[in-house]
């Protein structure tokens, strides 16, 4: 590395020299550069002004957006209590198993629910090959609590007579088709019921079929 390249590399470390976050060897190299280079000293002063301006604004921004301290803790406690209603795994093994189980559920549903295609259909089950079209009903986005396991998802689907049409995403979000029937007076009633389930973190109506 030439002297110029070396100096460029050291100049790139100035922000962390300024914040006192360089290791001893790097700090010594930067200080040697500052001792011999006026332009490096100018650069440091410019950075110092910039850092002061940024720090002041970030501090003000933080003051204007206070942290939801007690509310946040109360919410976390509710989430912990909610998650305690299901078995609490100590390792994060459920997500792949949930994804695999979800895929299995989709596959089973495709086999069980295969029906002739309807021209009035609104939604389709996702699959690699056969496509199941579903008529009417509601399309609901559901996020399950982090501790949820696939049997909880399956139990809710059975309860709703629902079908998993997409997901879970990395955040555990799924799209579920719920058929319109006499059980729920309307979409809101259905949504309220889903939201009340202990394994559901949130639910939102994405669409309503004909």
């Amino acid at each position: 590395m030439s002297h110029e390249q070396n100096d460029e590399a050291l100049l790139a470390l100035l922000p962390w020299y300024l914040s006192g976050q360089l290791e001893t060897a790097e700090k010594a190299q930067v200080e040697a550069l500052l001792a011999r280079s006026e332009s490096a000293r100018d650069e440091l002063e410019t950075l110092r002004s910039l850092a002061q301006a940024v720090r002041a604004e970030e501090a003000e921004h933080s003051r204007q957006h206070p942290v939801p301290s007690e509310l946040g803790w109360a919410r976390l406690q509710r989430s912990l209590a909610q998650s305690a209603t299901v078995a609490k795994p100590r390792r994060d093994w459920w997500r792949p198993s949930l994804a695999a189980a979800a895929a299995l559920i989709v596959a089973l549903q495709i086999g069980i629910l295969a029906r002739p295609t309807s021209l009035e259909s609104d939604w389709r089950l996702q699959s690699g090959g056969a496509v199941q079209q579903l008529t009417g009903g509601y399309r609901v986005q559901v996020r399950f609590v982090d501790h949820a396991q696939w049997q909880h998802v399956r139990a809710l689907l059975l309860d709703l007579d629902g079908v998993l049409v997409d997901g879970p995403s990395a955040l555990g979000v799924m799209q579920v088709y719920v058929p319109a029937n006499r059980r729920f007076a309307d979409a809101q009633a259905m949504l309220n019921y889903v939201q009340q389930q202990s394994v559901v973190q949130y639910a939102a109506l994405l669409g309503q079929g004909r």
């Binding site: 790139a12 360089l22 002041a56 921004h61 933080s62």
Partner: protein, 185 residues
């Protein structure tokens, strides 16, 4: 309990100690919330992320390997949760592409045209113009006093990329704030 180190708290949390989680929450919830807010620009979303992050701490404290600082590990979780939420809310806009980049040349004119009266508002305007990932590097460097190897770990990027992003962010901020900084000098 409040005297416990971050690592000791995580050990207790891994054992199911909610009192330790409370201390951990008190120690870090501000930093988690504010960092998430810098990514999401939405207080409600940042509060959601804070909840998700602390839940993950509760669930995964036992998986902390101790190869990095607890704070670095926590910021990494926070960034991932924030980016996941951002992608979920704006699926058609890849992270980082949503923020203006091409109009850097216009910053000073636009900035002057706004006739912002307060210095803080001017700085905020310029910070908001940065790409998300550049703003995060600036925030972690100047506000969280985080070393660049830790920033690389939080953001899952090479060390060189941290320096490059800081360089670009600095150039863009200086261009945007040039007049202001010269007035202060």
């Amino acid at each position: 309990m409040t005297e416990a180190t971050d690592e000791q708290l995580l050990q207790r949390i891994a054992g199911g100690d909610q009192a330790a989680l409370r201390v951990f929450y008190e120690r870090f919830h501000g930093a988690v919330y504010q960092f998430s807010l810098r990514t999401l620009n939405n207080a409600a979303d940042a509060a959601d992320v804070l909840n998700l992050v602390m839940l993950e701490v509760w669930q995964k404290a036992g998986s902390f390997a101790g190869q990095s600082q607890v704070r670095t590990w926590l910021f990494s979780i926070t960034r991932n949760k924030s980016v996941d939420l951002l992608r979920r809310k704006r699926p058609s806009e890849p992270f980082d592409e949503a923020v203006l980049e091409a109009d850097a040349e216009d910053h000073c004119e636009h900035f002057a045209g706004l006739q912002l009266k307060q210095q803080g508002a001017q700085v905020r305007h310029c910070l908001d113009k940065l790409k998300d990932s550049h703003r995060q590097v600036v925030y972690l460097t100047f506000f969280e006093d985080m070393a660049y190897p830790d920033i690389a770990e939080v953001m899952s990027i090479p060390l060189g990329t941290v320096k490059t992003r800081m360089l670009h962010a600095k150039q863009q901020l200086l261009q945007c704030l040039g007049r202001l900084l010269r007035m202060d000098a």
